[in-house]
């Protein structure tokens, strides 16, 4: 993947190892643009005459990394969830140390479809309302997935200790960063003092947003990018999706947040005391921990000259946007609580 011109040959050798004795060919190798964290490419295979399009997803070299996550963990997550029937591409093969593909990489079945963000952008209001409903359904399907096969994921003992861990995680990220970040320290203290009612813990996608959803020709949704998946509070995904809508319009949740929450609550069986725009707002900033935990080490490496990715320099603007959201969301919730006399 690091040397695209060599990839068809590498892939043939890799697939021949996976299918001993089979006749294998690979062509039409093409990199896929749009994602920031991993190298992604599509290609066509024929294995004993059977055609299949596949996608390879691998790590960039360390000096070009923008996001420090573990491919082996993502592979195990995808395998376990696919077996459990979750809506994701079928994971097919894994090269854990890059021996065969030049970098740690997985290969999955290619899902034919359109990114949800693109579909939303060319849809009218009525269609976007329907897409928002489907987004709620997808979230419920993910959050309700059977996690029995995901024994590599840490299971928190209870909701409070999980939130304690997230808040401590924020403090740890800040402590490890080479520059003081008072926004993060402020956020950690604020999150600790303004906890919403607890929700049952379950599977959290971790990067749930419309750029990570493909819409198949039949209209069904498939979720991509499972590198930040964990066991946590399902409202993290709703909050993170809502957060991303602010920088990647058009949004689906923000069209009518009350209605989206009501729909999610109805499908999930949770009450609207637990899932509502205020609690989603709380989790829109708490859930940013996944992205910050992955991005800030690369920013630190960039500052010291160990990372040379333009994307890393570019996402400084993204971090300012995080800071902006931290203040706006926390002050917004305070204002709502003050005006309505309700708990966050």
């Amino acid at each position: 993947m690091l040397e695209p011109e060599k990839m068809p040959t590498r892939l043939v050798a890799f697939l021949e190892r996976e299918h001993p004795g089979a006749s294998v060919s690979v062509d039409s190798y093409e990199q896929i643009r749009g994602g920031y964290s991993r190298l992604t490419a599509r290609f066509r295979t024929e294995i004993d005459g059977r055609e299949q399009w596949m996608v390879a997803r691998g790590d960039p070299p360390p000096e070009m990394s923008t996001c420090a996550t573990d491919r082996a963990r993502e592979w195990r997550t995808m395998r376990g969830l696919h077996d459990a029937g979750a809506p994701l591409p079928q994971p097919l093969y894994f090269d854990p140390d890059g021996t065969h593909l030049g970098t740690t990489a997985m290969v999955m079945d290619m899902v034919r479809g359109e990114p949800l963000l693109h579909l939303a952008a060319r849809s009218n209001d009525g269609k976007r309302d329907a897409l928002a409903d489907q987004m709620a359904e997808l979230a419920v399907a993910i959050h309700g997935a059977d996690v029995a096969r995901l024994n590599h994921l840490e299971v928190p003992t209870d909701w409070d200790s999980y939130i304690d861990g997230c808040i401590q995680g924020w403090r740890d990220i800040e402590a490890a960063h080479p520059e003081a970040d008072p926004f993060i320290r402020y956020l950690a203290s604020w999150l600790d003092q303004n906890r919403p009612p607890p929700a049952p813990l379950g599977l959290v996608h971790g990067d749930f947003q419309s750029t990570n959803v493909l819409v198949r020709p039949d209209g069904s949704f498939v979720a991509l990018d499972w590198e930040l998946t964990h066991i946590g509070d399902p409202r993290e995904d709703l909050g993170w999706c809502r957060w991303n809508e602010a920088i990647q319009p058009p949004g689906l949740i923000d069209r009518d947040e009350e209605e989206f929450c009501r729909r999610y609550a109805e499908l999930s069986g949770l009450s609207t005391d637990i899932v509502n725009p205020r609690t989603v707002s709380y989790f829109s900033v708490l859930s940013a921990i996944g992205a910050c935990e992955a991005a800030l080490p690369t920013v630190a490496a960039f500052a010291s000259g160990l990372n040379n990715s333009l994307v890393t320099g570019y996402i400084l603007g993204y971090i300012s946007t995080f800071h902006q959201q931290f203040l706006e969301v926390t002050q917004g919730i305070e204002a709502a609580v003050s005006a309505e006399g309700v708990k966050p």
Binding site: G34, A180, P182, F183
Partner: protein
């Protein structure tokens, strides 16, 4: 050295040339996305380069003021703010070189972080006063960043 035109002026012209001459010739979506990122980074640098040291010095002074107010209000439990403030004052920048001032600014950032942690539980005017320093910092960051949407998506 030649100090005029300023760094920001030079970057302004580079950005304009990229937009008017280079961007129309770029048809590959990946290269166009890279060009969008380059423009964003250049905008960021252009906003910072002529003012960065002055802005950091101004904010350091503001943080010291608010830390003093918080200490005087008697809410600096465990002297965490006082300790950070003392460390800041003991390690002033020895020069106007950016790296030296950045080091002092980093220490001031720790003072502000501790001041926020001390003020938040008390709420009210004290919390709002300390948070106003964070709001000023944010306004500057947003000014540097400009409008931001992810390119290439």
């Amino acid at each position: 050295m030649i100090s005029r035109p300023s760094c920001s002026r030079l970057l302004e012209v580079v950005r304009a040339e990229l937009r008017s001459t280079v961007a129309p010739a770029v048809t590959d979506p990946g290269a166009a996305a890279v060009l969008g990122m380059i423009d964003s980074v250049l905008q960021n640098v252009a906003a910072r380069c002529d003012h960065e040291v002055a802005w950091m010095r101004g904010e350091i002074a503001e943080i010291e003021d608010v830390a003093r107010e918080l200490i005087d209000a008697g809410v600096d439990t465990g002297s965490r703010v006082s300790d950070a403030l003392a460390r800041l004052r003991a390690h002033r920048s020895p020069s106007d070189h950016t790296a030296d001032v950045q080091a002092e600014y980093d220490l001031a950032g720790e003072v502000l972080s501790r001041a926020l942690e001390a003020a938040l539980p008390h709420g009210g005017a004290l919390r709002d006063r300390v948070r106003s320093v964070l709001e000023h910092r944010l306004r500057r960051e947003v000014e540097i960043r400009g409008d931001f949407t992810l390119v290439g998506r």
